[in-house]
Amino acid sequence: MRKLYRFKAPIVLRRIKGHSMQPKYMPGDLVVASSFIQPKVGKVVIADVGTYDVIKRIGSISEGVVELHGDNSSDSKPSTTTVNDIRAVVL
């Protein structure tokens, strides 16, 4: 069950695992993200999709539903989450 309210840390540090955001973000890269930035289409975000976080680019936002894409299309398929699940926008 999704949380209705989620505490969002102002600054989020994450280590990337996986290949779906290549070539800009490589496995092992450290990224800094902030919840002060408004999630918009085209922005790369850290999203909490359950028991872990993902890093993805926002493809669309419609009525609170966010479609997330990987930059590396050969290694990623679009998925959806909610605006509330977006932790922070990568700086």
């Binding site: 994450r14 280590r15 990337i16 695992k17 996986g18 290949h19 976080d53 993902v54 890093i55």
Partner: protein, 142 residues
């Protein structure tokens, strides 16, 4: 693991499905069913039961191929092939072994399928830190 790595959580840039979904255990379970179906067939004198054993064995052999194909086409990436140049051959042999087991009631073919799937399992384990394929085999043999 450095202190920094303990503090900083990962953000997953996922594969096709969420990470952790791909697992050769699926193929191993079906291959084990192929083997067990042939074994039950050989032990039985009941013609109806034997017919069912053949049907189940063929279905499971097809599922084994399916799970192998998913791993081959969706999980394994070019960098895995660079690290293991025999990867395509391992999958080629495993899927061919599934076809051979599908059309045979010889336990040797079913065992060959298990062995070939285990080769895939070992290749998979080499790409995934912390994954223990031996546990899969041990659980199925328990």
């Amino acid at each position: 693991m450095s202190l920094l790595d303990k503090i900083i959580k990962p953000a997953y840039a996922h594969c096709d499905l969420f990470c952790g979904v791909y697992d050769p255990a699926q193929a191993r379970i079906e291959a084990q069913s192929v083997y067990n179906s042939v074994q039950k067939y050989l032990e039985s004198d009941d013609e109806v039961f034997k017919a069912r054993a053949i049907a189940i064995k063929e279905e499971r052999a097809e599922l084994t191929k399916h799970h192998l194909w998913v791993l081959w086409t969706d999980y394994f990436k070019p960098e895995h092939l660079e690290a293991n140049s025999d990867l395509h051959n391992i999958f080629w042999k495993a899927t061919k072994a599934a076809s051979a087991a599908k059309k045979s009631m010889d336990l040797k073919n079913s065992q060959a399928l298990l062995d070939a799937v285990d080769e895939v399992g070992v290749a998979f384990a080499a790409t995934k830190e912390g994954y223990d394929y031996e546990t899969v085999i041990n659980n199925l043999n328990a």
